[in-house]
């Protein structure tokens, strides 16, 4: 079995700073110069709201900062601000995202491009403050754009890209980055200046606002004659967002010299082109997976990684392309839809429904609520997925490799 060697730590270059992930994201937000920031503390996001408060207090960020009473009203005040024409930002995690869910769905329906950083964390119960993707997946069907970052640099850049795309297609955006693993890490990252960002991100120019000199009614209710079209327009905007995102990452590369243009910015791949066995995963776990891929490649084994950077709109055509020709696919996922299977795995399977090449797909539910995923865990998964066959049943297509049977009711007899 392949053994991964730890990577050497890179020293920061001249244009990089080393700071905590939440501070770095907050500084990225500052460069986007929002008119209104409204956010509420919750672990592990709190650093973002603290840093933004500090930047406002020090006169470095000229935003109205609303010290709200709850995440529910963070989202609600952002809705009012965005409807008035403001660029509005919020940040949250987990239970906070749940509390925002009701107003966030309406932000999509009312086509308000609020951008939020989501420091991903599990949902209660049991209470846990640690990272997984249950919170983001629970908001899947709202009509919010969703991006998932692998490292701090990407978390910063995704916030800037989120503003650009959200404001072009008029949908809210959730810019996800893993709790603790990215929020509390100190990593070298380039913090773009406001001048650089203004080149990439023009001021928001909404078609409609609440300006009383041109009165409008926003948020009328729709009867059955009209509602469907409103929902269809969200779907159309999501589909448009694919191209808008592709253009945005191209221009981002021109301005900042960071290249996210692979697969139109939808997927990031690592040795996937000729891979026999492909791991699909989102977020920070990809860093560990890369090390395992390196080790396999050193041994001459064709293992690769496909990492969706965009979750909504879902990169189905790109996944069809990237997974074509693989002998097997392992979906590593930090969420699970009880009663069926990992929503992520289910969506990937759905994406391949029309594909000529349909490799067997096995999902691995792991890293839940911050349970550490080590290189050897991933190597074991690679060994396991090599045996996956197209004939495997539904039950065999899902694995919980880190499960501790001794903690289950009935204990080891499970």
């Amino acid at each position: 079995m392949a053994r991964a060697e730890p990577q050497e730590q890179e020293n920061p270059s001249d244009d990089q700073e080393v700071m905590k992930g939440t501070s770095a994201v907050a500084k990225g937000v500052m460069a986007a110069d929002p008119d209104v920031v409204s956010a509420y503390p919750i672990t592990p996001q709190t650093g973002v709201v603290e840093k933004l408060s500090e930047l406002v207090a020090d006169g470095k960020l000229d935003s109205e900062f609303i010290k709200v009473d709850s995440e529910f009203n963070a989202a609600s005040t952002c809705i009012g601000a965005s409807a008035a024409g403001a660029r509005a930002f919020s940040a949250t995690s987990s239970q906070g995202l749940k509390l925002m869910s009701e107003p966030l769905f309406t932000a999509a329906g009312m086509r308000l491009p609020i951008v939020m950083a989501v420091a991903n964390r599990s949902l209660s119960a049991p209470l846990s403050i640690w990272a997984d993707h249950t919170d983001a997946f629970a908001e899947r069907d709202g009509g919010m754009l969703q991006f998932h970052a692998e490292d701090v640099q990407e978390a910063i850049d995704h916030v800037l890209l989120s503003f650009r795309v959200a404001e072009q297609v008029n949908l809210p955006a959730l810019s996800n980055f893993d709790g603790f693993i990215l929020t509390h890490v100190q990593e070298p990252a380039n913090i773009p200046s406001e001048e650089e960002v203004s080149e990439f991100l023009p001021p928001r120019d909404p078609e409609y606002t609440l300006d009383p000199s041109d009165p409008k009614t926003m948020g009328a209710y729709a009867r059955p004659e009209h509602w469907t079209e409103s929902r269809y327009e969200i779907q159309r905007a999501m589909m448009d967002a694919r191209e808008v995102w592709a253009d945005a990452v191209e221009e981002f590369n021109d301005v900042f010299g960071r290249d996210y243009t692979e697969y139109g910015g939808m997927l990031d791949t690592y040795y996937a082109d000729d891979a026999d066995h492909i791991i699909v995963a989102m977020g920070s776990i990809a860093g560990t997976i890369r090390n395992v891929v390196d080790a396999y490649r050193e041994d001459g084994e064709k293992v690769g990684l496909v990492r969706p950077r965009v979750f909504r709109p879902f990169p189905a055509p790109e996944l069809r392309d990237a997974l074509a020709g693989a002998e097997s696919v392992a979906v590593l996922t930090k969420e699970m839809s009880p009663g069926y299977e990992s929503a992520f795995a289910g969506e990937i399977k759905g994406a391949l429904y029309h594909a000529e090449s349909q490799p067997p797909i096995k999902s691995y539910v792991l890293g839940m609520a911050g349970r550490d995923v080590k290189p050897e865990d991933i190597a074991e998964i690679v060994e396991d997925v090599k045996t996956a066959s197209p004939e495997m049943g539904f039950k065999e297509s899902e694995s919980w490799p880190q499960l501790r049977p001794e903690l289950l009711k009935g204990g080891d007899e499970q």
């Binding site: 209104v36 009473d69 009012g80 965005s82 300006d211």
Partner: protein, 319 residues
């Protein structure tokens, strides 16, 4: 109806008329809250942004693609009208300071930002949003129109439903006298947030109500108005009696009209020869179980009267 709507060209209908609360809305005959909307907009004028909670006044006024509103208007959800208004206010504060040339926004000096919600949207489900808006000091006028139950969903009990009222979730029955709590004191709660102005008004006195709207809008900071607005359907009375019942609520002391500034009661609309509460109860179907000449009914009326008397004494309501 549906096929007509689908074929229609709506462009013209989306244009606003000159009125700020226009005829054609779907409110019932004798609707008290609809009058409140008329008075609020008349007093506030056109340089106004309204944030409305889900509820009767939202539903009757904005069935897409029509709108009764001549002011700028936003509805989001049931329990966040105060927060949406706070967000609008924050946006305008930012625009004022930053003067963005890409947005054609007016100077917000004379801008009125008004949040409107029914009693359920305000005193119950939207209480957190209201409290946060007032505590943070946003320059927003919040108007709670009180028709004493969740009327939009079919007359369910709220924290503003008076003692003894039969509603669909506090029905009178063998073991029930109807609603078993008194009205939550929203004015005191609002005033305790340290806001500069909180007042009650009744649609039976439009002059007083409109003056209070104007006065509130002239004050910087959060303001709270509690306006009494009977509902003929939910209370079960003849729709010609809306104003009479609003007035009787004042004259019996069930709904005292007064102002609080910086936490202190500064004016009370004194009542000479306060009428017994039966005068207000009897015309309403929701209280008919109290008039069956039985002991329970009499006792309930007495309890309600005692609650009213106690509040009247605290306020110095009697002339």
């Amino acid at each position: 109806m549906s096929s007509d709507l689908q074929d229609q060209d709506y462009t013209d209908e989306l244009e606003h008329d000159e009125e700020l609360w226009n005829p054609g809305h779907r409110a019932c005959a004798g609707c008290g809250p609809a009058l409140a909307m008329k008075y609020i907009t008349e007093a506030a004028g056109e340089n106004t942004i309204v944030s409305n909670a889900t509820g009767c006044m939202e539903v009757v006024s904005t069935p897409y693609p029509e709108s009764a509103w001549g002011t700028s208007y936003i509805h989001n959800i049931f329990e966040n009208a105060a927060s949406v208004a706070a967000g609008v206010e924050a946006a305008y504060k930012s625009f004022d300071r930053r003067d963005p040339d890409h947005l054609d926004v007016e100077d917000s000096d004379d801008l009125n930002i008004i949040a409107i919600g029914g009693d359920g949207a305000t005193a119950d489900i939207g209480f957190r949003a209201l409290s946060g808006m007032m505590e943070r000091g946003h320059d927003v006028l919040y108007v709670m129109y009180d028709n004493e139950a969740y009327m939009n969903t079919g007359v369910q009990r709220s924290s503003q439903t008076p003692f003894g009222a039969s509603t669909t979730t506090s029905p009178a029955g063998e073991e029930s006298i109807g609603n078993d709590t008194n009205k939550k004191d929203m004015i005191s709660i609002a005033a305790d947030h340290g806001i500069p102005y909180a007042a009650t008004a009744s649609i039976s006195n439009p002059h007083d109500f409109k003056q209070k709207v104007e006065k509130a809008l002239d004050i910087e900071g959060p303001k709270f108005l509690h306006v009494y607005a009977p509902c003929p359907v939910g209370w079960s009375f003849d729709s010609a009696q809306t104003i009479d019942l609003a007035e009787k609520a004042v004259k019996t002391g069930l709904f005292p009209v007064f102002e609080m500034e910086d936490g202190e009661v500064t004016s009370v609309n004194k009542i000479r020869d306060r009428e017994p509460i039966e005068e207000w109860l009897e015309p309403q179907g929701r209280f008919k179980h109290l008039f069956k000449d039985d002991e329970d009914g009499e006792q309930a009326i007495q309890e309600l009267q005692e609650w009213i008397d106690g509040r009247a004494e605290d306020l110095g309501l009697d002339a």
